[in-house]
Symmetry: none
Subunit: 129 residues, 4 copies
DNA sequence: GTGGTCTAGACCACT
DNA sequence: GTGGTCTAGACCACG
């Protein structure tokens, strides 16, 4: 699994943030787990320690990790995280449906298209996994 | 209706592009309609002509408008536009469902939440309209 | 008025943040006012642009300013700011009173001491102003 | 009662110092009492002996304890301690009132708010005690 | 011209 | 060893 993609237009630090958040949602990283050290991760990703530092600062600000000075960064396994993520996803999807409605698309038609897509993936399921 | 919002973190030219696209999807702007001139729009939005120019270039690149030298920019009312938009929306929503699946959220639960939201909007609460 | 003090143990970016917040609370900086540009402020304070940048990012995160790309940073004069500040001060003071109580100090005695101090300042008022 | 909190952003040695000072103010630790040995406390807190050592050095520097070589650290139960603490608290509170004044908040309003808070605590709601 | 991101390298506090 | 801050200098997107 590669954490970052230099081709991606999003800033590197943001990619790092997103990836760690996914790992926590998936349960790969759990409460109390120690994060890789800023320096070691920088080496691993062949990026700059400051970039990793910025990503960790953002993760801390968002409440995903906490810092113990001189020791490292640790996962703050909040049980609420998953629930928040769910709300966020629901909001995003609802917003998209609203947009569709605004431009006169039939919601029912949309739903059936989506179901079809999901079914196709369900069966063949091949994507990056 | 205001076309741009300076507080928005997205670049201004991108906001302009999005707004014109929405106007076309909604049918406010139709095939053959003339776009406002770069200069007049720049004045109206109190922004830089270069910014408007960039927005128009992007709209042209995406096939929404075409330029007639010395006369102005015109809407290229393609019947396919709406269909493309629908595909785009479907893709985005499917992607979000995939993400939900990856982190172990129940799709059914998600769907019921979304339905609830849509129903609530449907009934009373009007939004920014 | 000097914005930063290199002797101060607090990081420079934090001092910058605090100073701008005070200027907004006092009404010196008001809604819509443009902040000094990152580069110009860096020169003025003879510090590094990155340091100023970090301060501005923090101010934006806390909702005090907003950024318009290519234009600059502007004050987001929220009327609620002062109210929040008041709550914050009340909380801090209450906490100190609680601490005093915990170690067996008489609140009344404390209050009279404080009144005395305030009165003394009221009359002679000389401090850094 | 837990002496330290790794989630806290303050350095661990500082938390240790603060906690011992509170114990002395409250009278839990009194003149002549022996402090836990550096090594035992380090084990108890699962922290580094150097950290405890640094905390004790700071407590000695501030005049709260003294060291007897080969025997350990002892509380220097100074009667002045409480008085100093009181002065410190008064100063902090006065400073906060000054700050409130600077930004144009009404001191009277602030005081009434504070009284209200204290009364509410006084009556029912017990806090961390 | 503006802000945003990144690199390289340094120093400090804490453990 | 750890993270936190800062400097110097570069590049990019935006207006």
């Amino acid at each position: 699994m590669n954490l970052i993609n230099f081709q991606d237009s999003r800033p590197i630090y943001e990619q790092i943030v997103e990836n760690f958040k996914m790992q926590m949602y998936k349960g790969i990283l759990q409460e109390g787990d120690q994060m890789p050290s800023v320096r070691s991760l920088a080496v691993e990703l062949s990026t700059n320690p400051n970039t990793v530092q910025k990503a960790y600062a953002e993760l801390e600000r968002q409440g995903f990790i906490y810092t113990v000075k001189g020791r490292g960064n640790f996962v703050k396994g909040d049980a609420l995280l998953k629930d928040n993520k769910k709300k966020e996803l629901v909001d995003k999807i609802v917003e998209l449906f609203m947009e569709a409605h605004e431009i006169g698309l039939s919601i029912d038609e949309l739903v059936s298209d989506i179901k079809e897509h999901l079914a196709r993936i369900e069966s063949g399921e091949k994507k990056y996994d």
